[in-house]
């Protein structure tokens, strides 16, 4: 219980806090914002390096846990934030909102997510969630001269506050029943309390709050508006980082703390997952704005990712983790193209004839679209395959059948982008000139989507090792 050991365990978060503050302060001195962005990347890289060297264990009276599970999720956060920073610089400059706070806010949201992934206590979980959410509310409204961005931020904030209240309410009910907020202790004390009505209420509140974070239907209403209004790199980030953080806490809270009522929460999650897959995919079909389309697609992908948690087995959790990891690359990759096109690529119809004007970017977009559909040999297929495998092994074949049919439905709207790019004549000329960081982000995401599609072996092992720590 000694203090220095506890401090050693949370070293990554301490470093990240310090570095984020330094970035915030340096912003006052350094006029060239690209330097700040670069420092942001360094800060994440340093934190990532420290995470690799932290021993597993519990700290601060078991509030904080460092294990392979949290490490895996933290890497998803780190990777998605680095890719986001790479995509942000030119975009913010073009939108005339290139301020340094952007990068420190991003770092703070990553810090919040890290705490979420590492929380072994509902209070820390709540704090992490709030830190993440508050930073992202601001980032959503970062285009301060744009009414849509303001609207999105306000909407997100109001609904987010509502979901925080639900979360707190759920936590308080749990505390009422068990007298503790520690996940492990909750699990021990709940064994005798199974199926108490109050527990069901608590479960519903917690599930609703988490469903809001991962944008699962029927708590998805905010996401299309917010995704559309937010700066595109932040949309990319939101669709991956906070979503993964939401899954990290769902996994930990439901499987560890509420393990004794697994039957009940599996039913709840199953309903959420089914609705999410159906509504997300069906509504995506009729969208005309690419960011809204990707928002609905992102909702649908939450539905798929829930499958692994519903399976409830270690294999299932691993498949959700691997899926989120793969999803990070393919979704940010797709958003990278949207970002690079900037104002030229807001509507889906803007992609008409892109295959002729910009063959390279069109080809890369094609890869991401097929990966999101889940067609081999891309990473998206491997991720879905693993999910289906785990959910079928757990005995939910019907759910898997629904999921595959919904993937077939999703082919329609993903392929529409491909169709417009390659099968229509360009109606205008645009010039696309990505800068070096953007090109780097696209190279990384494309490379990994193809690499994980062709030889997923190492990534599966990575997820496996993380779970067994």
């Amino acid at each position: 219980m000694d203090f220095s050991r506890d401090m050693a365990l949370i070293k990554p978060e301490l470093w990240l806090t310090g570095l984020a503050i330094i970035v915030l302060l340096l912003e006052l001195i350094i006029k060239k914002k690209e330097v700040i962005a670069f420092l942001g990347i360094i800060a994440i890289a340093v934190t990532a390096f420290i995470v690799l060297n932290v021993a597993p264990g519990l700290a601060f009276k078991e509030m904080y846990i460092s294990d392979g599970y949290s490490m895996f999720f933290k890497f998803i956060f780190f990777i998605s934030s680095i890719l986001t920073i790479l995509l942000s610089m030119r975009y913010l400059r073009n939108e005339n909102v290139h301020y340094g706070e952007y990068y420190s806010l991003l770092l703070f949201s990553v810090l919040g997510m890290s705490f979420m992934a590492s929380s072994n206590d509902l209070i820390l979980l709540y704090l992490g969630t709030e830190l993440m959410a508050l930073s992202i509310y601001v980032l959503t409204g970062f285009k301060r001269y744009d009414a849509r961005s303001n609207e999105a931020a306000l909407k997100y904030f109001l609904l987010g506050a509502f979901s925080s209240a639900l979360l707190l309410y759920g936590i308080s009910y749990i505390y009422l029943l068990t007298g503790t907020t520690n996940l492990r202790e909750i699990a021990e004390r709940l064994i005798s309390e199974s199926s108490e009505p109050v527990l069901m209420i608590a479960l519903l509140f917690l599930a609703s709050a988490f469903a809001f974070k991962i944008a699962a239907v029927p708590f998805h209403m905010w996401s299309p508006d917010v995704y559309e209004g937010a700066p595109t790199p932040i949309t990319a980030f939101m669709s991956v980082g906070p979503k993964a953080a939401g899954f990290a806490v769902i996994g930990r809270v439901f499987i560890i703390a509420l393990g004794s009522i697994a039957v009940d929460w599996k039913t709840v999650l199953m309903v959420l997952s089914v609705l999410t897959m159906i509504v997300g995919n069906v509504l995506a079909i009729s969208q005309t704005n690419i960011k809204r389309m990707l928002a609905y697609s992102s909702i649908a992908h939450s539905g798929y990712a829930l499958l692994g948690i519903i399976a409830g087995t270690p294999e299932g959790i691993r498949s959700t983790m691997l899926y989120l990891f793969i999803y990070a690359f393919m979704n940010i990759g797709a958003f990278a193209i949207v970002t690079i096109l900037g104002r030229e690529g807001e509507l889906i119809s803007d992609y008409e004839g892109l295959g002729k004007i910009e063959p390279l970017w069109a080809a890369i977009m094609l890869i991401f679209m097929f990966s999101l559909t889940g067609i081999p040999p891309t990473a998206g297929f491997v991720g879905k395959f693993y999910l289906f495998m785990s959910v079928i092994n757990a005995g939910y074949t019907g759910l898997a059948i629904l999921a595959v049919i919904m993937s077939a439905v999703s082919a329609y709207f993903y392929l529409r982008v491909v169709m417009l790019m390659y099968m229509k004549e360009p109606s205008r000329t645009i010039s696309v000139s990505p800068n070096l960081p953007e090109a780097l982000a696209v190279t990384i995401t494309t490379g990994l989507v193809l690499l994980m599609g062709v030889s997923p072996y190492y990534f599966i092992e990575f997820a496996k090792v993380s779970m067994s720590l």
Binding site: K356, P359, I375, P376, V404, L415, Y422, E461
Partner: protein, 486 residues
């Protein structure tokens, strides 16, 4: 064997596609020559499969195994037996022909077209040689991407509708098979190894469920009635090379799937469901044939004739006896050659006239005599004239069909008569009668076009006169299959 034949045949086109990717967009001639060289090279390296295949064995040959994803027990596992070897060869043969026929007809996005063509060839050959379910599924699905683009980008006026229809139909069928594959994995001792799964016996109920899951994928691909409606659209709108690949190889993958997976993996369910399959086959034969009689569009007519011909193939397969199965396999090859050739021929005239309407033509035999000669050979092969390849296949199938059910055999024979009716009537309307003013002054086939079609004429006669060259490949493997079905 000095080199891993199957891997070379699969990855040579991929390497070609990668090199094309790096070539300049404007070097059109270089791109074409390069694709031609690579497809010819692929065919040449596939020849050991023909020459060194041991026809006395029924097991897998030219086997290559490597660990791929050990965590899920997935292997990179290739091999061919008497059932699949001919399809690998046919795919490799059609590759260069598709390049040749597209030489002048593809004018837009040339580089992308040949990349797609090379990738599709690789995936097709992969499908026929994969012995691991995961690998098989990867090839099976990966093929959809280039095919979707080939139809949608370089196709006819209704190409976009046809491309998405093709994609959604096949994807919807395939994903159900994917669930089936995973269920099989967990019930078969956590393996995707097709051969080891084949050596197991599954409970009847499971067999039945899986049979239908696989049926969803294969029936759409074949295509069997009533899920055939994507085919006329896709065939009609695709560019010539696309139609040739669709007719020649792609739709064979469905029938191959039945042969390779459904029959040996679920023998009891297959036997129980054979009457249903025979009925569907008969409906396809008759219905497809009747539809052909009312078509006014050349390509659409040939497309519907594919539905009818593939009905024969599935009839042969689900007759579940030696003659029927061998006839089915041979008829798949025949249909690939003949219908592939007919689409090539339609492409030849379409390049000149840009019309697919039958009424646009008439008296073509007067203006393009060489062309008329070629068309005659394949028309006769298609209706099964003795001495040409179609006869052998259909004869064996009807023989097998009679053994399985007299009614099925009789109805199938009626289908042949309908086939003769629509093909000969088509020939009469296009090639005889008065010369249509539209087609005056058209040039006859040039050397490139003759070179494209000549190998297929040779094959049509070869199989028709001495089918044993090809039947001998499959005797042993089919014998094993029939024993398994007893």
């Amino acid at each position: 064997m000095a080199y891993p034949v199957l891997s070379t045949v699969i990855f040579l086109p991929v390497v070609g596609a990668l090199i094309l990717l790096l070539m300049g967009r404007r070097q059109e001639l270089a791109i074409k020559w390069f694709s031609l060289i690579f497809t010819v090279l692929t065919f040449v390296v596939s020849l050991p499969l023909f020459l060194n295949f041991d026809k006395t064995r029924s097991d897998m040959q030219f086997v290559e195994v490597f660990e791929w994803i050990p965590a899920w027990n997935i292997k990179y596992y290739l091999g061919v037996d008497g059932i699949s070897v001919l399809f690998v060869l046919l795919s490799a043969l059609l590759g260069p022909l598709c390049v040749l026929i597209s030489w002048h007809s593809i004018k837009d996005k040339i580089k992308e077209f040949y990349i797609a063509l090379l990738l599709i060839e690789a995936a097709m050959i992969g499908v026929f040689s994969a012995l691991d379910f995961f690998l098989f599924y990867v090839f099976w699905e990966a093929m959809l991407i280039p095919m979707y683009l080939i139809i949608g980008v370089w196709g006819g006026p209704r190409r976009i509708y046809s491309a998405i229809k093709f994609f959604l139909y096949t994807l919807a069928g395939s994903v159900l098979m994917l669930v089936g594959i995973i269920v099989l994995y967990f019930n078969g001792g956590h393996t995707f190894d097709i051969l080891s799964l084949m050596s197991q016996k599954f409970p009847y109920k499971l067999q039945l469920i899986l049979f239908w899951a696989f049926f969803a994928a294969f029936a759409v691909k074949v295509p069997m009635w009533p899920v055939h409606t994507w085919l006329p659209d896709a065939h009609t709108e695709a560019p010539t090379a696309g139609s040739v690949i669709l007719a020649g190889i792609l739709i064979k993958m469905g029938a191959y799937g039945f042969l390779r997976f459904s029959l040996p993996l679920f023998p009891d369910a297959t036997k129980a469901m054979a009457p249903v399959m025979l009925t569907l086959s008969i409906i396809a034969i008759i219905y497809g044939g009747l539809i052909c009689l009312v078509q006014s569009d050349l390509k659409r007519l040939i497309a519907y004739s594919s539905v009818s011909h593939m009905g024969f193939v599935t009839l042969g397969i689900f007759a579940l006896n030696q003659q029927g199965l061998e006839g089915g396999i041979l008829q798949m090859i025949n249909h690939g050659i003949v219908t592939g050739a007919l689409f090539l021929l339609v492409g030849v005239i379409y390049d000149r006239s840009h019309s697919r309407e039958i009424s646009h033509y008439g008296g073509v035999a007067t203006v393009l005599p060489v062309y008329a000669g070629f068309f005659m050979v394949f028309t006769l092969a298609s209706i099964g004239l003795p001495g040409l390849n179609g006869f052998i296949g259909e004869f064996l199938i009807i023989l097998g069909g009679f053994k399985a059910s007299r009614l099925a055999g009789a109805l199938a024979a009626t289908g042949i008569i309908i086939g003769a009716a629509y093909m000969l009537w088509l020939y009469q309307r296009v090639f005889f009668e008065e010369v249509n003013p539209h087609i005056k002054g058209y040039k006859d086939m040039d050397l490139r076009e003759i070179i494209t079609l000549a190998p297929l004429v040779v094959l049509v006669v070869w199989i028709g006169v001495y089918p044993n060259t090809f039947l001998s490949f499959m005797h042993e493997s089919v014998k094993q299959l029939v024993i398994k079905l007893q």
